[in-house]
């Protein structure tokens, strides 16, 4: 028996295969890697200005700053990927004590046909002050011991095991931190903040975000000032020495059981509470929250849903 197969039938029969082939199509990736090393001397500062760049900062015990910048262009056509990569420019300059690293587009009006990405891998002494400016992309910093400044927009910020003076500004970029100790200032807008195991002095100003803060026993002064943000504070075990001064404007609050809560003010809009330390004062937590809710609980307790309005 002869079987006649029409073209439409063939297309219909093998269309799943065609789809699969399309989804598994390959693209060319051109990677340009730049590696550079600078001798670190006390007083040096590293400044990185990344655009659409993932910045990773790590430390080592050498008195050197090692920089590895990886720039890639991905496109189905190799020539197009190479052309677009040429428009991506990396700049490294030394001015006095400062080392500036930056990436930018040579021709900003050029529409990139390729997907362009930039990665910075930086290794430096832990005492080296660092300033990061990130416009899209992200920044991951760990083990620094001196000074860290970050100015991020649309960039996720991750900080792990950092001490010293921190100044973090973020817009449309979430901040995640763990094991931070020092004098810390955070100003954020439309960014969620998640800080765990933090101590020292913290001053946090936030608008339009969700804050989850888990201080440790070395927290001396935590001041939170938020607008249109929900705030979760998780008290550490043995943290009965912490004193709280909580103020809400057009917000709801859930406070832990077992602590003596003193209500200081109650109007239709404003609520104020104080929680005195039940043992020697070890630190103070002040929260001023407008148009948002406050949850206060022990760190070992899983926060239950439901809000208690006083």
């Amino acid at each position: 028996m002869r079987v006649f197969l029409s073209i439409p039938f063939l297309l219909f029969a093998f269309s799943p295969l065609l789809d699969a082939q399309t989804s598994n199509a390959l693209r060319e990736v051109v990677t340009k890697t730049i590696e550079d090393t600078y001798t670190y001397r006390p007083g040096n500062e590293l400044a990185v200005e990344g655009e659409k760049a993932e910045i990773f900062v790590e430390t080592w015990d050498k008195q050197k700053i090692h920089v590895k910048v990886v720039m890639t262009a991905s496109h189905p056509k190799l020539e197009q990927a190479e052309t677009d990569l040429q428009n991506l420019h990396y700049i490294a300059e030394e001015a006095g004590q400062k080392i500036f690293l930056k990436n930018k587009l040579k021709d900003k009006t050029l529409r990139s046909q390729s997907e362009l990405t930039v990665h910075y891998y930086i290794t430096l002494p832990e005492e080296c002050p660092v300033y990061l400016k990130s416009h899209f992309g992200g920044a991951t910093i760990s083990n620094l011991r001196n000074q860290l400044r970050i100015n991020g927009e649309f960039s996720a910020i991750n900080i792990d095991n950092v001490q010293g003076i921190l100044d973090i500004r973020s817009r449309f970029g979430d901040i995640t931190g763990e094991r931070i100790d020092g004098n810390v200032v955070i100003n954020s807008r439309r960014s969620d903040i998640n800080l765990y195991d933090i101590g020292g002095t913290f001053n946090i100003n936030a608008q339009y975000g969700e804050l989850r803060i888990s201080p440790n026993l070395s927290m001396r002064n935590l001041h939170i000032n938020t607008d249109k943000s929900d705030v979760y504070i998780y008290e550490p075990l043995g943290g009965e020495g912490l004193a709280y001064d909580l103020s809400l404007n057009n917000g709801e609050v859930k406070l832990p059981v077992g602590r003596r809560v003193i209500e200081l003010e109650r109007t239709t809009e404003v609520r104020r509470f104080a929680i005195r330390p039940s043992k020697e004062r070890m630190g103070t937590i002040t929260a001023s929250i407008a148009f948002g809710d406050l949850y206060l609980a022990k760190q070992t307790k899983e926060l239950k849903s439901g809000i208690t309005r006083f």
Binding site: E35, L105, F154
Partner: protein, 197 residues
């Protein structure tokens, strides 16, 4: 002056008589020569300290000469050593210097292939008319609550434009598109609040 009659003169001289000196004359001369003048001078012995001093001076001079010779003999290795040390120090200095001087950046280019991500549907501008109309209504009504929402919407609109600009400049990245989707959800939330008022 040249003698013209040399032979005649010689003959004449030969003809002259010869006379011997008396024997006493020679004795007298002999007596006059002895003792000599040096023998006639008085002699003096120098003090012992003079010779000792001279001897010490000679010994010291010899010792100094020996030391000088020795120093000269040893100075060559010292100079060599000093030269070697200087060379090493120079090399070390250059080495440390080169170590301190940052070497030029190392640049490499690599190529590979990867599976292309799925194509993205550009559907994020389909509802812009609704947002524009909402802003127009807010402006017309000019009420505080609406104005506050309008400010939020304007901020989110600007954020969306920034994200779209990055998508144009750096190509379509899934993480950036996710950021755009988040902004769109926030804008939708604001829009719902606006139309409720």
């Amino acid at each position: 002056m040249k003698e013209k009659n040399h032979d005649k003169l010689r003959d004449a001289l030969n003809k002259l008589p010869a006379y011997d000196a008396p024997g006493s004359a020679w004795d007298a001369i002999n007596d006059g020569l002895s003792p000599t003048l040096a023998d006639q001078l008085p002699t003096y012995q120098p003090a012992a300290g003079v010779w000792n001093a001279i001897s010490r001076q000679i010994e010291q001079a010899e010792l100094a000469a020996l030391q000088q010779t020795g120093a000269k003999q040893r100075s060559l290795p010292w100079r060599k050593l000093a030269g070697v040390a200087a060379a090493i120090a120079l090399l070390l200095t250059i080495g440390i210097g080169l170590n301190g001087v940052d070497r030029p950046a190392k640049v490499t280019v690599a190529y590979h292939q990867e599976v292309a991500p799925a194509m993205t549907i550009h559907d994020w501008n389909t509802e812009e008319v609704s947002f524009t109309n909402a802003l127009a209504v807010i402006e017309a009504r000019n009420e505080p609550k609406l104005n506050a929402l309008g400010e939020e919407l304007v901020e989110l609109n600007e954020a969306k434009e920034e994200i779209k600009a990055i998508l144009v400049a750096y190509g379509e990245d899934a993480s950036v598109i996710r950021q755009l989707a988040e902004i769109e959800r926030d804008r939708s939330d604001i829009y719902r609040q606006i139309i409720e008022l």
